[in-house]
């Protein structure tokens, strides 16, 4: 039975463990410097700014934008390979289990204030992240990279709240020379961060749902990822309890908006929802799943 499986607690533990592993360089927070070891050449699956003093690995989104910016000199294969492999193996399970910024938003949403529920408007807004992916992550870095040969990670520069929170604020707070450099762009990013923090309190995972281009990339793998959630059509009665329970803008479990958290398993009356197993041939859920 899925009910009472303790999955929400286990998921929080995994999210916390991922956040700690991504940001294991605790010393960096003390002296406002960043980790410079060899591990930094590797990417983590979730959104985690590599300019965070704690970051021990690279951010896939930052790496992708920088690689696209230098396409004039080198065809980016490494980061495309990493993203394809992460997407194929995990899909949006990364959003549900392995993203520190997702965890932060979930914790913010626990603050007891009136909440805004999902609606047709939020469903429409969830398309915005695909536009951000195309414009800020792909088009601007590629265009400026090819035409001027300059690296412009546009999403990081103008939008990414994880960069402001994890990198900007701790580094600027502890570094006088950086404090002298802050200007309008920093104010814009802090304003956007505050907006996203407040929106996450009233709207569940608002950044993930409406703005995150990394989620948009992994959404492309939702149907084909090896790990993830699935529905046993033989058992499903179509009662839609799962869709009503879910706070994301899903139309059905496992679609591109589903972060594969599995919390809908708790409300399914027929236990028709389970996690995919690595080597399986049928779309059925076992009794113990």
């Amino acid at each position: 039975m899925a009910k009472g499986s303790g999955l929400p607690f286990k998921r929080k533990c995994i999210q916390l463990a991922a956040a700690l592993i991504y940001n294991a360089n605790i010393k960096g927070f003390q002296d406002a410097t960043i980790y410079q070891g060899k591990l930094k050449g590797m990417c983590v699956p979730g959104l985690n700014c590599y300019s965070c003093p704690g970051a021990s690995f690279s951010c896939p989104l930052g790496t992708l934008q920088n690689a696209l910016s230098s396409i004039r000199y080198r065809i980016p294969m490494y980061i495309f390979g990493i993203i394809i492999l992460f997407g194929l193996l995990f899909g949006r399970i990364i959003c549900g289990f392995l993203c520190p910024f997702g965890l932060l938003q979930e914790l913010l949403h626990k603050i007891p204030v009136p909440k805004i529920k999902k609606s047709r408007a939020t469903r429409w807004l969830s398309c915005l992240k695909y536009i951000i992916l195309v414009v800020f992550v792909l088009y601007i870095p590629l265009y400026i990279g090819i035409s001027k040969g300059m690296p412009v990670p546009a999403f990081c520069k103008y939008i990414c709240p994880a960069g402001t929170l994890e990198g900007g604020l701790p580094l600027v707070a502890g570094n006088k020379s950086l404090q002298a450099l802050i200007g309008g762009l920093f104010s814009w990013k802090v304003f956007l961060l505050i907006l996203i923090v407040f929106s996450a309190i009233v709207l569940y995972r608002s950044f993930c749902r409406f703005l995150c281009p990394l989620g948009a990339i992994y959404a492309l793998f939702s149907k084909i990822s090896i790990m993830g959630i699935k529905v046993d059509e033989g058992r499903c009665t179509g009662c839609n309890a799962c869709v009503r329970h879910c706070k994301m803008d899903i139309k059905k479990v496992g679609d591109r908006e589903c972060i594969q958290c599995g919390e809908c398993r708790e409300v399914c009356p027929t236990d028709a929802i389970c996690f995919k197993k690595f080597k399986e041939k049928e779309e059925k859920c076992n009794e113990e799943a």
Partner: protein, 50 residues
């Protein structure tokens, strides 16, 4: 194995092979060092200064 499952399996194998080939090609091309070189410096754009 039914037909849609077979198709999905082949798609996964194909994408997995493509991903692995790109990753290895990138490593061979020295992109690990390029990524590392960028990541060990404070990205001023990322923190809202550049």
């Amino acid at each position: 194995m039914d037909k849609p499952h077979k198709k999905l399996t082949w798609l996964r194998i194909g994408l997995g092979a493509l991903g692995a080939a790109l990753l290895l090609g990138g490593l061979y091309n020295g992109e690990y060092a390029v990524t590392l070189n960028k990541a060990i410096r404070v990205c001023l754009e990322c923190i809202g200064i550049g």
